[in-house]
């Protein structure tokens, strides 16, 4: 599809909007429907779209499988890291209010956002890894 100019240019235009939309869903999760899961899938979809147009090899140049394999647990660690921080600050596991002692509700916003970031990273990386392993099946010269 790399030779089809319309698709190629359209994909270039759409890509940033997909990411922006993902970020909108991500931050909107604080107030209404949305959040890390959905945003992560949209981010992954943007990259899958890129791979569909430009080929899997091109995408793997940008995001290698090794990197993704590190990103999946990294998200989990960010999530549990918030929990550990609240332990250190003397509270229960995942007690966000302690993140900002002067303004607990600000701390809660912060905690949720950081946790959702962890979720976004893990979900997006997992979706891409699944895409890699499915689309990479049976291809020659694919590492």
């Amino acid at each position: 599809m790399i030779n089809n100019q319309i698709i190629r240019i359209l994909s270039k235009i759409l890509f940033p909007f997909l990411i922006i939309f993902a970020l909108y869903v991500q931050f909107h999760g604080d107030y209404g429907p949305g959040g890390g899961f959905q945003a992560g899938v949209v981010v992954a979809a943007a990259f899958v779209f890129y791979a569909l147009v430009n080929g899997l090899a091109k995408l793997k140049e940008i995001i290698s499988e090794k990197l993704l394999e590190c990103l999946v647990p990294l998200g989990v660690l960010i999530y549990s890291g918030v929990g550990v921080t609240s332990w250190i600050l003397g509270g229960n596991f995942l007690d966000y209010s302690l993140l900002d002692k002067s303004d607990p509700s600000h701390g809660q916003h912060m905690g949720v956002l950081i946790i959702e970031l962890g979720v976004l990273i893990t979900v997006a990386a997992t979706m891409l890894l699944i895409f890699y392993s499915f689309s990479g099946r049976g291809r020659k010269g694919d590492s």
Partner: protein, 493 residues
């Protein structure tokens, strides 16, 4: 710091799983796993001592007060299972490092440890949480990592077994969550303690009955209660031997824990309600499980599958205690949760060690012929663990059967006493078959160069098997906790 133990025992394995997945260096991961299980074990023991001294612990996750927030609730019953899981986890890790290195490809080992820890985190979470939906989340965590662990088996059929388990396990989890959804719909709460209060006035309405059926059916799949046990034999047979050991000792037990939690804590079951329909269903399923499981084991040639069928039968004994519905019966099933974990873990560990020594994945009965002379230690250990499975006096299996029979007699169910005794004879048949092959058949695999049994494997098997006997004589430890757990679960008992 000490009041953080309820979250520590669950969160530490989760964090360690993440670390293992990033740094996938085998020795490092193994060490992290060992340390993690040690932390969880000491946490569980500390929780047990605290609960014993000063009553149940309620831990507010994230600082939100129950019933709105998620509550971790620790009572003696939960501690009992927590100790069991972390104890098995650490024993399997020490026992199995060499076996893991042999059975699992080097680029997957880091992931293996990560999944192992995640599975442990999920199982501990199910036990410790006091929230119906949180239990579902942990159930998914443990199940998903378990499917991965099973699929790591070297045999191609491991993938199929794992897939089978995935489909059935998901079905079970879905039914469970439908049941929880119904309960939430009529009560508006997910906290188990809160549920048990709000459910009281509407206990006889159809909604609650339907919810109870859904939860029972869903958990029965996870437990592998008789007609729903089809995933279990293959999953146990084709998983790597360390995974089989861990699974057999913990996974089904945790589901039984959750079922008992719902029956006694939420739905307010009490002793002497043996006329209820659901108890009748459990009773017939348990008896069928014992007999069908044992018969299938008799006609099975693959040893891991044989033990898996025997697990189906043994699970029948545990649920039988629920059906007998009196103090002795429930104590029997409670103590059998630990005893069966001990016996089955020993047997699977020994099988794994033999497979390691004679370079074979799937052991059949003929592989064992004449091994009595070549491997005197392993075979003696297997005989002892097998005898406990049979319930010979002086072994842990006897303690269980003693209590179950007592419970049946108190109900006046003499036919059940006969059935329990007859079922022991069935164990004797398949056990006898193994022992005969081991000691009285000529050696079939002379000339195979055998691996040396690793020292740590030897020690763990020795410890496990000797505790099969020790805990059969000195019952105060296991039986003590089991009785306390029954009292915690059913207050008037």
């Amino acid at each position: 710091m000490f009041d953080q133990w309820p979250s520590l025992v669950v969160a530490v394995p989760l964090i360690a799983a993440g670390i293992c997945a990033i740094i996938r260096y085998e020795f490092f991961c193994w060490l992290v796993s060992i340390i993690t299980s040690l932390v969880s074990l000491s946490g569980s023991i500390f929780l047990y001592l605290t609960v014993k001294a000063s009553g149940d612990i309620s831990y507010k996750l994230g600082g939100w007060a129950p019933p709105v927030g998620i509550e971790y609730r620790v009572d003696i019953f939960a501690c009992y299972l927590l100790i069991l899981i972390s104890l098995v986890a650490i024993a399997v890790l020490i026992y199995g490092r060499k076996l893991i290195n042999k059975e699992i490809a080097s680029h997957l080992r880091g992931w293996f440890y990560s999944m192992y820890l995640l599975c442990m985190c999920g199982l501990m979470g199910i036990v410790i949480t006091g929230d119906a939906f949180n239990a579902f989340v942990f159930m998914e965590i443990s199940s998903l990592s378990m499917y991965t662990l099973i699929a790591l088996g070297r045999d191609k059929r491991a993938l199929l077994a794992s897939y089978q388990y995935l489909i059935l396990g998901t079905l079970g989890a879905t039914m469970y969550v439908i049941g929880v959804g119904l309960l939430f719909n009529v009560t508006g709460t997910l906290n188990l303690i809160d549920l048990s209060i709000k459910i009281q006035p509407i206990l006889d309405t159809p909604v609650i009955k339907v919810a109870m059926s859904f939860i029972f059916a869903g958990l029965s799949i996870k437990i592998a209660l008789f007609p729903l046990h089809f995933w279990l034999p293959n999953a146990y047979a084709f998983a790597p031997s360390v995974v089989t050991t861990f699974l057999a000792a913990t996974a089904t037990k945790v589901s039984i824990y959750l079922l008992m939690r719902y029956f006694y804590t939420v739905f307010g079951f009490s002793f002497g309600m043996s006329s209820e329909l659901i108890i009748g269903i459990i009773l017939s399923c348990s008896i069928l499980a014992i007999f069908v499981g044992s018969f299938s084991a008799i006609f099975e040639n693959n040893l891991k599958r044989l033990l898996a069928f025997s697990s189906v039968a043994q699970i029948g004994y545990i649920t039988l205690g629920i059906a007998i519905a009196n103090n002795a019966g429930l104590t029997g099933s409670m103590v059998h949760i630990f005893n069966h974990a001990l016996m089955k873990a020993s047997l699977f560990m020994i099988l794994g060690a033999i497979a390691f020594q004679i370079h074979k994945d799937q052991l059949t009965l003929t592989d064992l012929s004449g091994l009595g002379k070549q491997m005197p230690f392993s075979m003696a250990a297997m005989t002892i663990a097998g005898l406990s499975l049979l319930g010979v006096p002086g072994t842990v299996g006897f303690v269980t059967k003693w209590y179950l029979i007592q419970g049946a007699m108190q109900n006046g169910w003499w036919w059940l006493v006969v059935l329990i005794l007859v079922s022991s004879l069935l164990v004797l048949i398949y056990l006898g078959k193994i022992i005969e092959t081991v000691y009285f058949k000529p050696a079939s695999n002379t000339g195979i160069e055998m691996n040396e049994l690793p020292g740590s494997t030897f020690i763990i098997i020795l410890l496990a098997v000797s505790s099969c006997i020790y805990l059969g004589f000195d019952t105060s430890l296991t039986l003590g906790i089991a009785e306390e757990a029954v009292n915690a679960l059913v207050p008037e008992g």
